[in-house]
Symmetry: C2
Subunit: 402 residues, 2 copies
DNA sequence: GCTATTTAGTTGATAAGAAAAACTAATTCT
DNA sequence: AGAATTAGTTTTTCTTATCAACTAAATAGC
């Protein structure tokens, strides 16, 4: 009970350093409300443990200040190396990241099949990981942990996949299986949750305590951050925004149910609509199936336009519902592909803002955050960093108990 | 920073006593993880402050135990008297409650008009309160605080009503206005939030940390309890379940927008449907407009049946969406009026359970909690108790600082 | 260039809290 | 009656946070 206090303080300070990127002890004391003396003690522990380091020089514009110059503290990248893995439809992407969030290597490869056994995945992942490490002159021994993001329903606390489009079987203890193959701690979670972790740690979410991340790829995902913590639900299967229903007896969804949001806004849904409306496009790019439809809509094709608009309206309705339920400070629309522009368009957001309960207060900010194609893998890596930080902090606690 | 620890411990112990109703110190130590020594210290403070009392005797079945008999602790009702007030469409209901949650008096009266100025409401409330106190042989001087529940959009942290169907004007600092009239602290919040507080303190929610309360009266309300705390959103206007959209370009809602859940399941919505379908009922009871429709549906009238079924399906869809988003441990359907049976019927709940993401885990429990007609006022009173407990705990903290 | 001033960070002393251990209290079993 | 058992309190010890006094390292001003 008494030690928990110190553990909380250590976490608070570590998080404050991460949020600030680099910060002097005195500012840590001010921003956290912890006394300077305690900040000295705790930062000394963190320094000794190697999680943070002092950053000299670079006094910005503030060097015209009198007195002893402040010494900034920052996360020490070399403290840990982690890998973030995203298993998607038919691609595997990997990012190597240091403890400070710096990208140290990346790798993407096609998967021969969309669905496979968990043990197969583990083997493929091991090879891909070895390859990625090699390319950066690193080895397995340097890795502290692996974060693993997958579409589907994942109970992160147990590293257990109830169901994933990437796995041939249901109910797989994926963390344990992959961990056994790699000989490393593996932390698995739903992919959209992990993007939310990344936004919270290294993205615009760092400045907020309550925000929601909506991701769009093949499906629609959501991560919920409340009070500075990712909310996952009690069975680990909350935040299934893509499968909330927007229409009674509605369109068929990949999940087998009807009327899911995803069945109206995902690319396969748009293409289905286009097809049944008789639109035919010369196939240009197998990876960008929905591009020609969007182009046609922009070029004034009325049918294409109607399809895209309808998707936008459904998406706006979904966003409005999220705002009505959570009243967050911020919604981040995190998209990897430009093709989803139509869902982030200003008139869709305006539609959403019109559909929320109106009060004399500005509505939540809606931000669209265009990541590169490694967004998901970076999310997974960030989660690994979070977990590795936990481990290091526990180590400090154990040492100081001696 | 150091004192916050003690304040947390005091809260933990007080809450544990409330949850347990009555409990011995040793069980408090076990259930909270706080040491016996600290429990002794803290309970001594609470006893001295008068918030709790020792309850002798009544050893249940466990009196066949050796050793020193345990002395149970319980909330001390006499510590505080509070009032809970619910302002509804055209009724005002009041409950007097002691610190232990015991009902000490109640009162309901018709309001001449549905909408009024905040200052008018304050005056009416004062008279009604005086009357209620009189009837129980109590006086204003005995009251510690008043909780006030209103439909509409309320920012509880500021006691500020953005909009309410009961108030003639928007943006009223209702707590301050009523407080000035009564000369007592007044704590206002959205009515459904307060029902959630009551469920958390004195209802089935006491056993859970994450649950959702859905209320149905004229409208549809929601209260969200996450991690043992009521979640209100960042502007104080979250949990607007009744105004989440379930249909694009849908039915018109009282709020002026279209497709709100409420516009499909509230009684005015059902009656509107019945009317446009040409159903005519001999008016039996002005208070129970929807009763005849439900009776007709039960008696086999196909049109009535279709209307009621449709409402049930829309409601099921809304419930499923809540489960998909929050994945709570429990959903409590808190209803005052039996007439809403149709929405709590087993096949509606089965429909909801079918519409959530399916995993090999039991779905959240859905409980229907039938309160009497003072549910709302009791919720408001419970909120007042919560706030008064805060005040008392702060008093202890201030004293021990001397 | 030297001292005063300013700001950052550390250290030692102090106070407060939590909990282990030793103790007291109140009961039942034999 | 006394041993055993269970509940609750008190004493002591340890941890932690903070205040206040200190050291460190810079600039401003003469």
């Amino acid at each position: 009970m008494a030690k928990e206090q110190r553990e909380r303080s250590r976490r608070t300070i570590l998080d404050a350093i991460r949020r600030a990127d680099r910060v002097a002890r005195i500012d840590l004391a001010r921003s956290t409300g912890i006394s300077q003396a305690t900040v000295t003690t705790i930062t000394a522990e963190l320094l000794h443990q190697g999680m943070i380091c002092e950053v000299a020089g670079t006094d910005d514009q503030r060097d015209a200040r009198r007195g002893r110059p402040r010494v900034d503290l920052a996360l020490r990248g070399a403290a840990h190396l982690v890998a973030g893995v995203k298993v998607a439809n038919r691609t595997l992407s990997i990012v190597l990241m240091d403890f400070a969030g710096k990208n140290l290597g990346e790798h993407t490869e096609r998967l021969a099949v969309g669905r496979m056994a968990a043990t197969e995945l583990a083997v493929i992942l091991k090879h891909a990981l070895e390859h990625t490490l090699d390319a950066s002159g690193l080895s397995f021994a340097d890795l502290s942990a692996v974060g693993l993001g997958m579409a589907g329903v994942v109970d992160a606390s147990r590293g257990f996949v109830y169901w994933s489009p990437s796995l041939a079987e249901r109910n797989q203890p994926i963390s344990a299986i992959v961990s056994a193959e790699l000989g490393l701690p593996v932390f698995a979670d739903n992919d959209a949750n992990l993007v939310a972790v990344a936004e919270m740690y290294f993205g615009p979410g760092a400045a907020y305590r309550d925000f929601i991340v909506v991701t769009i790829e093949a499906g629609v995902g959501m991560g919920i951050v409340l009070d500075g913590k990712l909310y996952r639900g009690t069975r680990g299967c909350g935040a299934e925004f893509g499968h909330t229903k927007v229409q009674l007896n509605g369109a068929e969804c990949r999940c087998g149910q009807r009327g899911c949001l995803e069945a109206y806004v995902a690319d396969y849904a748009l293409m289905r609509e286009a097809e049944s409306a008789g639109l035919v496009f010369s196939q240009t790019d197998a990876d960008d199936t929905v591009g020609p439809l969007l182009d046609a809509a922009r070029d004034g094709n009325a049918t294409a336009r109607r399809i895209v608009d309808h998707a936008g309206r459904v998406f706006a309705m979904g966003l409005a519902n999220l705002i009505n339920i959570f009243d967050p400070q911020l919604i981040i629309l995190a998209g990897e592909r430009m093709q989803f522009d139509h869902l982030f368009a200003e008139d869709v957001l305006a539609d959403a803002r019109r559909s929320i309960v109106q009060i004399d207060q500005p509505p939540p900010e809606i931000l669209s955050h265009k990541w590169g194609d490694l967004m998901w893998a970076r999310g997974a890596a960030t989660y690994a960093i979070d977990k590795v930080a936990d481990m290091s902090l526990r180590e400090i606690a154990a040492q100081s108990a001696v």
